[in-house]
Amino acid sequence: MTTTAQEAPPGADQARQADFDAKVAANQRIEPRDWMPEGYRKTLVRQVAQHAHSEIIGMQPEGDWIASAPSLRRKAILLAKVQDEAGHGLYLYAAAETLGIDRAELTERLIEGRQKYSSIFNYPSLTYADVGVIGWLVDGAAICNQVPLCRTSFGPYARAMVRICKEESFHQRQGYELLMRMMEGTEGQRAMVQDAVDRWWWPSLMMFGPPDADSPNTQQSLEWGIKIDTNDALRQKFVDMTVPQADKLGVTLPDSELAWNEQSGQYDFGEPDWNEFKQVVTGSGPRNAERVARRRAAHEKGAWVREAATAYAKKHQNSQEVAA
């Protein structure tokens, strides 16, 4: 006889909890059929879904430039990149589905504004240099956030991240390569690059989330192995890696406090404007309403197509049954 959750004898939950804790502590993977605490499941659904939504909404700021990419090679690179993002969204929704939630439900949560996505995509992309800077800084920050998640405790999420990180690092290189080419180009192009760096630098630092002191869920997520490093640690790492790249590119990062600290062996840097961050997260950013509205419009406009596919599949299945 199999024991269901309802019939579990007293103490069974404690035993399963102990088993779960031991697995996480030993860096073993939790798989979809394994028992997991409800809080762990909920936190993961939220985290993976937000990540998936970020990939999908993240298609928009760069997707806006596919039509006007200034060379066919750049058009091909950008089209492929935006397509990859749709693919990342798909892997991540699939990972979320292993936790017992439907992709359609997650889509509803996104377009009704009940679930968030990365605030970075609420900033506009104003020139073609933004395509390069998004690749370099935004994908760069995403990689810093995501590489540790390849070791996250939930198996399907960790495996999705391995694949996604490989593609993200390719995108980041393409972004940096575009910027290098532009910096070797005309004065106007160099000005475009610097302007884009000025606009995206602080939002990129905010991608790591609020300071550790203001991040109440961090401790639990670290214990569960859903999070591997703290927000501030990742932010520091990103700054340390990015400064030499900016030097090599010949752009100035817009932070007067940015300086090498011999003692700590790290860069000191200024504080992002956390009020702006809160505004953008809570929906008052430059493009929040537009991003969600566009996703909602595509979804609603496509309803009849999805219904047709379902109806066709049903008919087809029925006719096969009759034939059999």
């Binding site: 200034p70 990689i143 690092s169 180009g185 106007g188 379902t310």
Partner: protein, 292 residues
């Protein structure tokens, strides 16, 4: 370079292209193919023929990529972007061949960004306004079937470059057509509403199909020389496929194709092409001295 060090590798010194995961040499797609002109072929005429096929692909790719972030389902975002990307790849090779054949040395971007609408040689249907998903599928069904028939024959071209491009294109187009067929069936034989939309789309697209089988003098000469394909010769095959698909999709047997008449191939376009190109060319033209 792996794991946590992926990011740091960016600023390291490397020889040549080694910095980039797959190199940056995307421009030499025709490397290794014999590029000498086949005997008896006029380079300028071959270039004009390449522009026709190249412009078809470029303009269709530009139109299709408008579906990115606007498709009914994520899988469709991926598929339509993929199809646009394939066509863009075909366009780049064909336009590069045009610049090689006519001796001007113009590259793919010279053709794409520095010509106006009247100099484009695509058939009109490739530029047709996007419309709804049923129109997109119907247009794709017609164009992919037509291009697949052309490219299948072009594999035998006496121009080794065209033959190589066609060999690659055939595999891509077979998938494009398969994708369009799968949706034509689902929409035609799905709900009552989707059936109506699909029937409307076929009725809308059909009048534009005549042009696909009209033979421009350049196409006629290229066909005579064994370099190109006379589009009139593929009409029967394309019609058979469409008839089979539309009938299975419960949309009924289509009528014959309308009378063929050359239009886009001689630069005679509808009003939709100019704004499409304007959007495509705007950044490149704003920065004429720039390199990207």
């Amino acid at each position: 370079m792996s794991g946590d060090n992926i990011f740091t590798g960016l600023a390291e010194e490397h020889d040549g292209d080694a910095r980039w995961a797959f190199g940056t040499g995307f421009t030499e797609a025709l490397a290794g193919v014999d590029t000498t002109l086949p005997e008896g072929v006029d380079g300028e005429e071959l270039a004009r023929y390449c522009q026709m096929l190249g412009d078809d692909a470029l303009v269709q790719a530009q139109r299709l990529s408008q579906w990115v972030t606007d498709a009914p389902e994520l899988e469709e975002e991926v598929a339509l972007a993929n199809i646009a990307l394939d066509l863009l790849g075909q366009a780049r090779l064909l336009l590069a061949r045009a610049g090689q054949a006519d001796g001007t040395g113009r590259d793919e971007d010279d053709f794409a960004y520095r010509r106006d609408a009247a100099q484009f040689r695509n058939v009109r249907l490739t530029a047709a306004p996007r419309g709804d998903f049923a129109r997109a599928i119907t247009t794709l069904l017609v164009l992919s079937g037509w291009r697949l028939s052309l490219m299948s024959r072009l594999r035998e071209s006496r121009d080794p470059v065209l033959a190589a491009i066609a060999a690659k294109a055939v595999n891509e187009l077979a998938y494009h057509r398969e994708y369009a067929v799968s949706w034509a069936l689902r929409l035609g034989d799905g709900t009552e509403y989707s059936h109506e939309r699909m029937a409307e789309a076929v009725a809308h697209v059909w009048p534009a199909t005549g042009e696909l089988f009209a033979t421009h003098p350049v196409e006629a000469r290229m066909a005579e020389l064994g370099v190109g394909v006379d589009p009139a010769t593929v009409a029967g095959e394309v019609h058979d496929v469409l008839a089979q698909v539309l009938t299975t999709a419960t949309l009924g047997e289509p009528g014959p194709f309308p009378e063929p008449a050359v239009a886009g191939r001689k630069g005679d376009h509808g009003p939709e092409l100019a704004p499409l190109l304007e959007e495509m060319q705007q950044v490149a033209r704003e920065h004429p001295e720039a390199s990207w």
